[in-house]
């Protein structure tokens, strides 16, 4: 199954996320991640959805999304070069003895320590999904207490849209 990243420009209306996510649910389309936020235009929101499926499924997803009145535009981002980013906050167990090692990992990944507790530190990492997966793998041995990922947001590179 191929992964696809699509952007859906929607009217900023109550219930629009429900319309979109409900459509994926009832038609059996996969959602790996979904993010919603404001867009460059007032009144419009941008959803970025990572989904998987063959070309025919992607075509159906696009066409079915266009049937929703509140959907203005559907963009298949991953058909062109994209910048895709995700943010994760990871609270990892950290006693004074292990902190230098953790800080080493954080530095290597150009992540940041954003909070320190008596027995834990909170790490913030931004990057593509693979980078965050790798970071999580490396921090696992120390004991991950809590983890929160935002899901992918993305734009096409350069002038294409």
């Amino acid at each position: 199954m191929i992964k696809h990243t699509i952007a859906v420009i929607v009217n900023d209306q109550p219930g629009v996320l429900q319309r979109v996510s409900g459509l994926f649910g009832r038609r059996g389309f996969n959602i790996e991640s979904i993010t919603v936020g404001t867009s460059e235009e007032v009144g419009l929101s941008r959803m970025v959805i990572v989904t998987s499926g063959d070309e025919q499924t992607l075509e159906q997803i696009t066409k079915q999304l266009y049937k929703l009145i509140d959907v203005i535009k559907v963009i298949h981002l991953s058909s062109n070069p994209i910048v895709a980013r995700e943010l994760a906050l990871i609270k990892v167990s950290a006693e004074p003895a292990t902190r230098p090692e953790i800080f080493g990992v954080v530095e290597t990944f150009r992540a940041a320590v954003v909070d320190i507790g008596t027995h834990s530190v909170m790490v913030q990492v931004v990057g593509d999904t693979e980078k965050i997966d790798a970071m999580v793998e490396l921090l696992k041995p120390y004991g991950i207490r809590e983890l929160s990922r935002t899901g992918v947001t993305a734009l096409n590179r350069g002038n294409s849209r």
Binding site: G15, L68, I69
Partner: protein
């Protein structure tokens, strides 16, 4: 036919008056907007959350309001009105249970692309989300089964929303639109100015086709040796039946129409092969499987038509004309997609359409097959056969009636043995297969066509799902002729249990149903019963002569099956032909 509010004012005078800006309540905005949208009949049921709306309707005479006995009756009636007229059907229900009683009817309309505007009340805005008395999130509940929906949050938006709702319901691929109006919005006042333009960003259905695609279709037709047209409900919805007729005449291509497409093409013409699919004709199904070119015009390749998808039309190049791009390629891979309104596409195609000259042998083959394998059944002199009854209905009405059906065996017999020649004369629940639809939809069809004969054909099962609406036929003198083919059993379920579940008849016995004649009479509707051919002819003629509504029960053979039949999972040429001879 006399209804509660029958005297309408002169239309122009009324419209002029309603267009004047005025400070009025949300309820009055709703009523005025409906009139300005051309609504002449609304089906509904009042309740707490729509009391302001019904208060505004007190003494109101600018459209008819039919008070049904159940919200389900109201929405099926609105659906029948829309299907039989081509106009938008409108119904009103209160919040909570009133609104949720509409759900089946909304889903029915959604599956068959029927334009409805469904108005529900809701609790006052400040109570929304508190589990208030009779609160239900009806926009949330119906999201998957509406084309679009609105929860009105400000009375200033109401006029625009109603205008948009009518536009969305009746353009592009048609469908139901729901407007949920909180009670305070229907009470609040604002300056009403009629909305006449509509601008919905991102919503602009493609009406005109890509010319190059049409050219490709024309070329494919001249090359085809075994071309076939599969026409669906989209022909009727777009009003393109005359263009379809011209297209068939010009190309001389044989045609089959789906269940919802019946009436889109005159059934008596040589090139008409009947309906395809699970209970379709032998010739229609065989021709699809043999065709080298299949032109789908406004049908959606439903599984009741295609049978086993992987074996469907194995030799055919597929052309698919549809206003909904999402239907193209959804079930069947398409070689030549044509997105557009069926009528417009055919108008353009007709300018250059030529006879399919290479298809002479094919035409001769199908004509012979059609003569050899018509729908047939083994008649009986002792028992009434349901097919015979439908044939009698057809003969006595010259095929001119509007026929509505419920769902099941009687629906298939009606589709097989009542021959349709005109669009909008056949009202049936195809996609959702909704029992309880047949009778109330006939009330709507009759309201839309006061001067036509409307026959509602039902089984004894489905009739009991909305029988309470007999009351409104009696009270409003709506002269629907209700036919009940009573086999004392859930017939289609019985048929499947016989043929597929090894005669294990589980919970299908409907003995203990009411005496339908007495039931009709209890509501003040004339009732008749027939158990043999002689009685059948006599009572039917009497029912036809009777000026008001009538219920005619035909007691038919219990064990009768619908043939041909394609079992689920088989390709459509694998037909069980049954005991017909």
């Amino acid at each position: 036919m006399v209804t509660q509010n029958a005297t309408l004012k002169s239309k122009e005078e009324l419209m002029e008056k309603l267009r004047q800006p005025e400070v009025i309540t949300g309820s009055e905005i709703l009523l005025r907007s409906l009139v300005l949208e051309g609504v002449d009949c609304v089906f509904g049921y009042p309740g707490g959350a729509v009391l302001y709306i019904y208060d505004a309707m007190h003494g109101f005479s600018d459209f008819n309001h039919v008070l049904t006995r159940h919200e389900q009756g109201a929405i099926h009636a609105a659906d029948g009105y829309a299907r039989a007229s081509g106009k938008v059907g409108v119904c009103i229900a209160t919040s909570g249970p009133g609104a949720t009683n509409l759900v089946t009817g909304i889903a029915t309309a959604y599956m068959d692309s029927v334009p409805l505007v469904v108005i529900t009340g809701n609790v006052i805005s400040s109570l929304i989300g508190t589990d208030a008395f009779q609160e239900a999130d009806i926009t949330g509940i119906t999201m998957p089964i509406t084309k679009h929906s609105y929860l009105v949050r400000d009375v200033d938006d109401l006029a625009r929303i109603i205008h948009e709702a009518f536009h969305i319901a009746n353009t592009g691929r048609k469908g139901p639109v729901l407007i949920d109006i909180p009670k305070d919005i229907s009470a609040n006042k604002t300056l009403f100015k009629p909305v006449t333009d509509v601008s919905i960003r991102g919503y602009s259905p493609t009406v005109s086709p890509n010319k190059l695609q049409v050219d490709k279709m024309i070329k494919a037709i001249t090359e085809a040796e075994r071309p076939l047209i599969l026409a669906g409900g989209g022909v009727i919805y777009s009003g393109g039946h005359e263009e379809l007729h011209e297209f068939v005449k010009k190309t001389d291509i044989p045609i089959t129409t789906t269940l919802l497409g019946l009436g889109a093409f005159p059934s008596g013409e040589d090139l008409f092969l009947g309906m395809p699919g699970m209970h379709g004709t032998y010739t229609a199904n065989k021709s699809i499987q043999k065709a080298d070119l299949l032109i789908n015009i406004g049908a959606r390749f439903d599984d009741r038509v295609t049978g086993k998808l992987s074996g469907f039309a194995p030799h055919a190049k597929i052309i698919h004309i549809d206003i909904d791009p999402a239907e193209i390629g959804k079930n069947v891979p398409t070689d030549i997609p044509i997105v557009g309104d069926v009528k417009t596409v055919l108008q353009i195609a007709n300018l250059q359409a030529k006879r399919a000259d290479k298809a002479d042998a094919w035409r001769a083959e199908l004509l012979a097959s059609k003569a050899q394998y018509p729908f047939r059944y083994k008649d009986s002199e002792d028992e009434l056969k349901p097919q015979w009854v439908v044939e009698m209905l057809h003969e006595t009405t010259n095929g001119d009636a509007i026929v509505t059906t419920d769902v099941g065996q009687h629906q298939m017999w009606a589709a097989q043995f009542y021959k349709f020649n005109k669009p909008r004369s056949w009202v049936t629940s195809g996609g959702l297969g909704t029992m309880g639809f047949g009778f109330p939809s006939a009330i709507g069809a009759q309201m839309a066509n006061p001067d036509r004969l409307v026959i509602s054909i039902n089984g004894d099962g489905g009739m009991q799902m909305c029988a309470q609406e007999l009351a409104i036929c009696a009270i409003n003198k709506i002269p629907v002729k209700v036919v009940i083919l009573n086999n004392q059993v859930l017939g289609m379920v019985r048929q499947w249990q016989e043929l597929i579940y090894d005669n294990r008849y589980s919970h299908i016995d409907l003995s203990g149903s009411p005496d339908f004649v007495k039931l009709a009479e209890a509501y003040g509707v004339k009732g008749f019963r027939a158990t043999n051919k002689e009685e059948a002819k006599a009572v039917w003629e009497e029912a036809l002569r009777h000026p008001g509504p009538a219920v005619v029960e035909f007691v038919v053979r219990k064990e009768e099956n619908v043939y041909p039949m394609v079992a689920q999972g088989s390709t459509i040429d694998e037909m069980i032909m049954g005991d017909a001879e």
